[in-house]
Structures are given as C-alpha cells and as structure tokens.
C-alpha cells in the first residue's frame, strides 16, 4: 500500500470541508470492500483517505412524505434487515441480502455501491430500477438528481456525476403502493453466496384495479456499463392486462437487446441473451404472485 494520510471526520460538514481542501487527491471509504483492496494492490494511490464510517448522520432509513429516504452510509445488512424495506421494496431487500457475504454486507454501503457505479453493483441496479433520486452535497451546495442522470454525468471519475468535492448523501424513492406495485430481484450468479452477478434482474410493475399495467421498470445489471433498461419491453407491457403469457412476449425483445449490446463479447453473449430471459421469467412469476394475479412456476 502506498502511503497516504487518513482522516475520519464525524460530520458531513467536516467531510465536505476535507473534500473541498483535497479535491482530486481524496479517496472515500464508504465501506472499504472495494477501496481497501485497490489500495492494497497498489491500484489506487490517493494522497488522502477519508473514512465515512464515523459520519453517523448518513446512516438512516426513514419514510417521509411518501418517500423512502436512505442515508448513503446505510449498510447492505441494515437494508436487508429492515422490515419496511422487506415489506414494501422486495427488490431492494433481495438485492441487498445477496450482496457478497454476511461480512461484506456488514461493511458495504448502498452509497458506496452507487458511487462506485460498478458494472455488477446489485444495489445500484435495484435503485436504478426504482428510478431513485440521489442527493449530492459539497461546500458549494446540494443537488438532487435522478439516478439515471447521475450515472450518465461526467464527474471526476467519469463513471458518474460526482464532482471531486462532492459526497453522495442520500438515496430516495417513492414508497410503492403494495396493492398495485410489485418489485422483484433475481441474481443470476456462479454460486449461491460470495457471488458477483452475471445478471442482476430487476423488475417493478404497477397495475390498476383491473390488473392493467400502468408502469413497468425492467432493468438488469451486469449486461453493460450501466444497468440495462428494456424500454421496448416496458412499453409493450404498459396498457396491457398483466399475465404471464403477456409478459413472456417481451422476452424476444430482451434477447435482441442483450445480443445487440454484447456483440463485442462473443464468449459471453450467448449465455447473457438466453440467461436474461430465464431471469425475467422468474421475475414475472414473482411479481404476478405478489400482486395475486397469477400463480406460475418458473
């Protein structure tokens, strides 16, 4: 590990001041499950490392004005163990409870997962499917933006909008209406624990009282740089009565889209384009069951 100075501020204010002071030479530890390894392998060599763990004010899960508000330093374990999340946002519950291992879930945070914006970030994929907002703060002020815009932004690390002096502080999204909205997550991976997603399937669907789909969010992590959106499939479902067979009709669209996006990876494209269909079959069955519309074995 190359030398660096270490800071462990206990408030957001102090953190922002340090970020302002050191700018590009800082690496933040939101959990350490990625950064510590990069430091140890000498792949990262920041002059300053700031540990965010003592910033307790960023560790919360609360509901305000119909929105879930989640502090960026909330661990995967806290999210997975949160009863409200489990009841209302199965997608996020299932995504966070399968991250890495129990030990990793005790360290890793949702904010770290989103800020890292890695290809196979399950928490990130879930938040994208939930169409969450993220809040970034710096000494210059605060901004809240949609997570999709966050990901396409050209920030300091090129992988998202975060500027050198900015801190991701909060993730928020509306509390889904349990009668009409169901969410589901399926992790396709090489083993049942300690696994990196091969495909992280995310589905959010909303129906009206007649079971007609009014909104659909279909995403999958690990299929491209950012969680892939199946817009054609989403559009196909909206306005239709939600049945398993109707949902299955979207599979060819997903197949084609994954094939198109992964043509440059001939060794993995076959499995990705077939696997994504298998993953979504399970998600379809899952949400239909949750909504009480249809019982399907997939």
């Amino acid at each position: 590990m190359k030398p660096f100075d270490f800071y462990a501020p206990s408030t957001v204010e102090e953190t922002l001041a340090l970020l302002d002071q050191y700018q590009n030479s800082v690496a933040l530890i939101a959990g350490g499950t990625d950064l510590t390894l990069e430091l140890n392998e000498r792949k990262a060599s920041p002059a300053v490392v700031i540990d965010l763990k003592p910033v307790r004010e960023l560790d919360y899960i609360r509901v305000e004005n119909g929105r879930f508000r989640i502090g960026s330093m909330t661990t995967h374990a806290s999210l997975a163990g949160n009863e409200m999340i489990r009841q209302h946002v199965r997608l996020l519950h299932d995504a966070t409870r399968q991250v890495g291992s129990p030990q990793i879930r005790n360290l890793g945070t949702i904010g770290g997962n989103i800020a890292q914006s890695s290809v196979a970030g399950d928490g990130l994929a879930a938040c994208v499917a939930l169409n969450a907002d993220v809040t970034l703060r710096s000494v210059r002020g605060e901004r809240t933006m949609n997570i999709n815009d966050f990901l396409t932004g050209e920030g300091v690390q090129k992988r998202n909008s975060l500027a050198a002096d900015e801190l991701l502080t909060e993730i928020s999204f509306p509390v889904p209406d349990p009668k009409h909205t169901a969410t589901a997550f399926y992790k396709l991976a090489k083993r049942k624990s300690l696994a990196i997603s091969v495909i992280a399937g995310c589905l959010v669907v909303t129906v009206d009282d007649d079971g007609i789909c009014t909104a659909a969010s279909m995403r999958a992590g690990a299929l491209g740089r950012y969680p892939m959106r199946f817009e054609g499939a989403e559009a196909y479902l909206v306005g239709k009565k939600l049945t398993y067979n109707t949902m299955l009709e979207t599979l060819p669209m997903m197949h084609d889209q994954v094939l198109e996006a992964n043509r440059s990876r001939p060794w993995s494209v076959f499995y990705k384009k077939e696997g994504v269909q298998g993953v979504f079959k399970k998600l379809f069955a899952d949400v239909l069951g949750q909504l009480g519309l249809e019982e399907v074995q997939a």
Binding site: M1, K2, P3, F4, D5, F6, A8, I29, G31, G32, T33, T36, L37, L39, N40, E41, V49, D51, K53, P54, A77, G100, S101, P102, Q103, I104, N106, L107, K192, S193, L194
Partner: protein, 161 residues
C-alpha cells in the same frame, strides 16, 4: 504520511496503538498486535479467514483500514477462549470433527459466536447462511454446521442450568 493513533478495545482490553495509516485492519491485528489467529487467505474479502467481530458483527478485516478501528470493539479468536480453555463453541468444533486444515476455522468460529449471540437457536439453514461468507476447502461444511448446532445446544444447556 502522518502516523495515526488508534484507540480501540481488542479482546475485551483497551488498546492504544500508533501505526501507519496505509495498513489494513488485518495487518494491524497480525503485525502490530501479534494476533495471528486472524488469517489472510484471499486479500479480497472473499474467503472470510480474516473475519473478526467488529462492534458485534463479523467483518473481513482485509477490507478495512487500520484507522477504521478507532473506537471499535474488536474480537479475534484469541479473545474467545475462557482462561486459556476452549469455550463451548470451540469445544463443539473439536467434538464435531469440524477441524481439518484449520485455516478457515478462526473465521468460522467467530461467525458462529456472532450468530449465537443474536440467535441462540439457529436452524441448520440459518447456520449455513451465517457461514456463507467463509470458504472452506476441506470439510464441505457439513461438520462445521454440525458444530454450530452443537454449540447452540451446549449454550442453551448451560443457560438453563
């Protein structure tokens, strides 16, 4: 690079240690404090051999920096035994035949301790879940899970006495 001073509780004793910040918690424990039961198997949070109990929860110490120990309560395998004798979990591991090469065992035992502190009566499935961040190449996990359940039984027996 400025040195840092870390104040924490390790194995029930307060510790103040001056060290370099570019060190992992794993290195702090093994090198600065001589707690070599904490094993390094993968250096990437994958094998769980470097697991310690950190403020009550198991974490992989190869994924943490030394400075992150500030103010923490840390337990390693050295802090488990009672007066130099194996505690009930350690006894259960010995009796169940759960120990082969032993390299994963410190992590396994600490995870077991953390589990049983929160859930004194785990099912077999819950035990497997709890151990799912610790790789073992020798045992196929069966006898380790047996040990967790035996330890739980022993602890319940002791509690009801």
């Amino acid at each position: 690079m400025n040195k840092i001073t870390v104040h924490c509780t390790v194995n029930h004793k307060p510790v103040v240690v001056e060290t370099e910040p570019n060190k992992r918690l794993l290195d702090l424990l093994r090198e600065d404090l001589g707690l070599t039961s904490v094993k390094e198997g993968c250096s990437e949070g994958e094998c769980g051999a470097c697991t310690v109990i950190f403020n009550g929860d198991p974490v992989t110490s190869c994924c943490m920096l030394a400075g992150q120990a500030e103010g923490a309560d840390i337990i390693t395998l050295e802090g488990i035994s009672v007066d130099g004798k194996p505690d009930l979990v350690q006894q259960a591991y010995m009796e169940s035949g759960a120990v082969q090469c032993g390299f994963c065992i410190p992590g396994m035992i600490l995870v077991t301790e953390a589990l049983l502190a929160k859930n004194p009566n785990p099912t077999r499935e819950e035990a497997k879940q709890a151990l799912s961040g610790n790789l073992c190449r020798c045992t196929g996990y069966t006898k380790i899970v047996d040990a967790v359940l035996l330890a739980a039984e022993k602890m319940r027996g002791e509690a009801s006495r």
